[in-house]
């Protein structure tokens, strides 16, 4: 395999005395400007009993600032043709928008005003709480969404900072008050650990200057520095034996299936081995599991394995769905194939295919302004350095069969202690899994 590494576009990184990292990337071509502000305010920072507070806080930012009410904030952003993305991952909260290039200064002003000067009006907090609670209940109608929420909750296990969906749970969101959101903002929206990434047509030196000027104008608006308690990330250890949790979804004619086991963090030194090995097992369209479950048996439309790689811990997750009548067959095939893979690792041709697949498609993930800003910002936040992107192809190409075998055994979603999660008709699922492992039936509402 002879892939050349991909050159990143011209960029500059500057760490400011405040602790904020400024990243400027030149993307020639379309007259667009993108800005993304990442803050160390992700879901893992949610206080105990307040799951969803990071997401609730970021949602509230645009519901009024100290300078203007919510509707005027919407007008400020959307009159530029932009939509404000307000996202929460396990680690960070991020605000981002893309505007025509000539509006770059207005875009930075809008982004910083929303991020730094939220009003948290009492009436807006109450309305947001009602909206969030209604949205969480509505999400219970989507079996795949429920399965996704169950995966992080059960996969990371009680007490782990990652063990809840970013949107939280209704029972906890119902307790949120203005002080919760304002307090979270005051303590987590800090320059230390934040990244402002900008992407535009101009040379990075110019983009840096524009951004520094704007940051200077908004300097006084940052919340004061405050000390946060360090989070405790206990090691993820698989339990004993295989076990299953069935989440009861009345009237479902199809069962959503997940098989979950501990995985690796994104910062692992074996990142390339893990990604290649997972791709051969359940990534792409010609993986071992797609062949066995979809192509050979027609059991499902969608089959994959995915590595949930958070910064400090991860999961290895098998995902599929099938009609109620073939649930057991799908689970049996998945477990059998994954167990065999854990012992033998990928065949040489499958390994080579996975390497070439990942290396060939890698540049596509750096194409749009949004993807470029997010990818580069993330490697900085993870402490991986730009070489993680620059040398991606050569690292993927260097993965050896022996390394893949070792990681395959360590990452198999089917290894001892794995959990099977089924969202579907409880009676049908319980009967289907009879004799395979202990089955615990839970109610839908527990995951909403």
């Amino acid at each position: 395999m002879s892939w050349t590494d991909v050159a990143l576009p011209p960029l500059l990184i500057e760490k400011l005395p405040s602790g904020l990292t400024l990243l400027a990337i030149q993307r020639r071509g379309l007259p667009l400007f993108h800005a993304r502000l990442s803050l160390p305010a992700g879901a893992c920072e949610d206080p105990k009993g307040k799951a969803g507070l990071a997401q609730f806080t970021v949602d509230l930012l645009r519901r009024g600032t100290r300078r203007r009410p919510a509707h005027d904030v919407d007008d400020l952003i959307e009159s530029m043709g932009a939509q404000l993305a307000a996202e929460v991952s396990s680690e960070e909260a991020a605000l981002a928008l893309t505007v025509p290039a000539e509006l770059r200064e207005q875009a930075l002003d809008a982004l910083l005003e929303v991020a730094l000067e939220p009003a948290f009006e009492q009436s807006e907090v109450a309305a947001a709480r009602r909206r969030t609670v209604a949205g969480l209940q509505s999400d219970l109608d989507e079996p795949a969404a429920v399965a996704g929420r169950a995966v992080v909750t059960l996969g990371y296990g009680p007490g782990h900072p990652y063990a809840h969906p970013a949107a939280g749970f209704r029972r906890e969101v119902e307790t949120f008050q203005r002080e919760d959101a304002a307090g979270f903002h005051a303590t987590r929206y800090q320059q230390q650990g934040a990244v402002l990434a900008v992407v535009g047509q101009s040379p990075p030196e110019e983009l840096i200057e524009v951004s520094k000027k704007k940051l200077g104008q908004w300097q006084a608006s940052w919340p004061g520095h405050s000390q946060r308690a360090a989070l405790h990330f206990s090691a993820l250890l698989p339990g004993q034996g295989l076990r299953a949790v069935v989440v009861h979804k009345p009237d479902a004619t199809q069962a959503q299936v997940r098989i979950v086991a501990p995985g690796l963090p994104r910062t692992t030194s074996r990142y390339a081995e893990a990604v290649v090995t997972n791709t051969a097992l359940g990534g792409g369209f010609t993986s071992l599991l797609v062949d066995a479950i979809r192509v050979d048996r027609g059991l499902s439309y969608s089959v994959n394995t995915r590595l949930y790689m958070n910064r400090r811990a991860g999961l290895s997750v098998f995902s599929s769905f099938t009609r109620n009548e073939t649930l057991r067959e799908l689970v049996d095939v998945a477990l059998e194939k994954m167990s065999a893979y854990a012992k033998a690792g990928p065949a040489e041709d499958a390994l080579e295919k996975a390497r070439r697949y990942l290396a060939g498609l890698f540049p596509l993930g750096l194409e749009s302004h949004e993807a470029l800003a997010e990818q580069v910002a993330d490697v900085l936040l993870d402490g991986l350095g730009l070489d993680h992107l620059r040398m991606y192809r050569s690292r993927i190409a260097a993965v050896k069969a022996e390394q893949a075998r070792e990681v395959a055994a360590e990452l198999s979603p089917a290894r001892d202690g794995a959990q099977i999660i089924v969202v579907g008709e409880a009676d049908i699922a319980r009967r289907a899994l009879n004799g395979l492992c202990p089955v615990d039936v839970r109610q839908l509402e527990e995951f909403g």
């Binding site: 919407d74 009159s79 219970l140 059991l299 439309y301 498609l361």
Partner: protein, 423 residues
């Protein structure tokens, strides 16, 4: 501001067998996208074989003369590429994203399946089960899917837009190998295809290879016409679904113009003014102010024949659907009665323009846009002056099109009521 032709130096070629080829080079990254647009979708079906267009999309990955079963994606992924496809009411599109070194292989794979697709009973039986599973996922166990299916059957009486793209379950089960063979001969001929290649390649060499590979494939016979008649709607129509959901939902549809009608551009702006962004009218009124909905969303996409302008309301648990409908209709009436203020109109234009530009920011996006313009509007050049055409739309245009589209007798309303169907 129009997009400049010099920024999109698309080369237009065609082969004697009717295949249209569009080439757009971009050397900034070592990647390419190839789209193959076939002008066939669920509108070209008939009762009894509904869903065959989509089922056939699956069949296209099951082997051809040179590349046997499982080989298409295996070869492609081994060369650093990936593929996917989608079927709509009007067209079926296949694409490959790939490392530029893989271009010769990708052209060989695509042309081989156009020339000599293998259709056998074994692969059809297997793919049928996969599609049935997809239908259970997207429709039978999905509220949006089941409501959308009910909307098509409600809003259209005679036009093929009446049935779902994925097809009725009983038709999926009944489609035969002979149906598939006939379908392939008719619709997958080069004269019904536009191939769009964008990315890092040398155009003359690429065209020479396409000419060599696609050139020998014979043109098909004349394509059957589509029964496009649809009687005028003379009164509101309603359907109800009972399903054990957490909350009610309402889907309202109005028959609108076809994609080539200039009024479609006006409806794009209306769609944006109503539901794009948090400050859009329906979001502001129904989600934030009246707290009736978790989400309010408009779907309007260009279709070959007069299609649908749909408004989806996901209600808060316990909200009376009649109350939400009433608020929605009040907002639509406001569009009909009052001109959109200049600030809102400009906001909508800016958002549509930005969306168009963002769609052009990736190799795949450029290829898709070029192909979609060719298929829907007859030429890729239509995308160049789209920003100017949106910019020229006036508040009076918006009011006129709203009055034409949203009268009460043209409403189609599907309501989801939480609960079981009584046995």
């Amino acid at each position: 501001m129009a997009l400049l032709p010099e920024d999109f130096p698309v080369e237009e070629r065609s082969l004697p067998n009717g295949l249209q080829i569009r080439l757009l080079t971009d050397r900034s990254l070592p990647v390419c996208t190839l789209y193959s647009f076939f002008r066939v979708g669920s509108r070209n079906e008939r009762p009894g074989i509904t869903g065959i267009s989509h089922l056939f999309e699956h069949m296209m990955f099951n082997g051809s003369r040179k590349y046997g079963p499982k080989e298409f994606d295996r070869r492609l992924e081994s060369a650093g590429g990936t593929s996917n496809a989608y079927t709509s009411n009007d067209l079926t599109a296949y694409y490959e994203d790939f490392a530029s070194e893989a271009l010769p292989l990708v052209l060989d794979l695509e042309s081989d399946r156009m020339a000599s697709l293998t259709i056998d009973d074994v692969s059809l039986a297997r793919e049928r089960e996969v599609v049935k599973e997809e239908r259970r996922f997207r429709t039978d166990n999905d509220i949006d899917g089941m409501m959308d299916e009910a909307m098509g059957a409600l809003a259209f009486l005679a036009h093929p837009y009446r049935w779902p793209v994925i097809g009725w379950m009983s038709d999926i089960e009944a489609i035969t190998r002979q149906d598939c063979e006939r379908y392939f001969r008719t619709w997958y001929a080069p004269n019904n295809c536009t191939a769009v290649l964008v990315g890092d390649f040398e155009p003359e060499a690429a065209f020479a290879q396409m000419e060599r590979l696609y050139g020998p494939i014979p043109a098909g016979e004349a394509l059957p016409s589509v029964p496009t008649g649809e009687p005028p709607q003379k009164g509101e129509r309603r359907a109800e679904i009972r399903y054990p959901s957490q909350a009610p939902a309402v889907l309202v549809g109005f028959r609108g113009p076809g994609g080539s009608d200039p009024d479609s551009l006006v409806l794009d702006l209306i769609e944006t003014a109503l539901s794009s962004g948090e400050g859009a009218r329906l979001k502001r009124a129904l989600v934030y102010e009246q707290e009736l909905c978790v989400d309010a969303h408009v779907y309007f996409s260009w279709r070959m024949d007069p299609g649908l302008f749909e408004i989806s309301l996901k209600l808060n648990p316990g909200v009376d659907p009649a109350r939400a409908e009433s608020s929605l209709f009040a907002e639509l009436s406001r569009l009909c009665d009052e001109e959109l203020p200049e600030r809102e109109l400009q906001r909508a234009k800016n958002m549509v323009r930005a969306q168009l530009l963002r769609g052009l920011s990736t190799t795949n996006g450029r290829a898709h846009t070029v192909g979609q313009m060719e298929v829907m509007l007859g030429t890729w050049r239509a995308m160049l002056d789209l920003p100017d055409r949106y910019a020229a739309i006036t508040a009076a245009d918006v009011r006129r099109v709203a009055q034409k589209t949203f009268p009460a007798h043209r409403r189609n309303v599907v309501t989801l009521i939480p609960g079981e169907v009584e046995a």
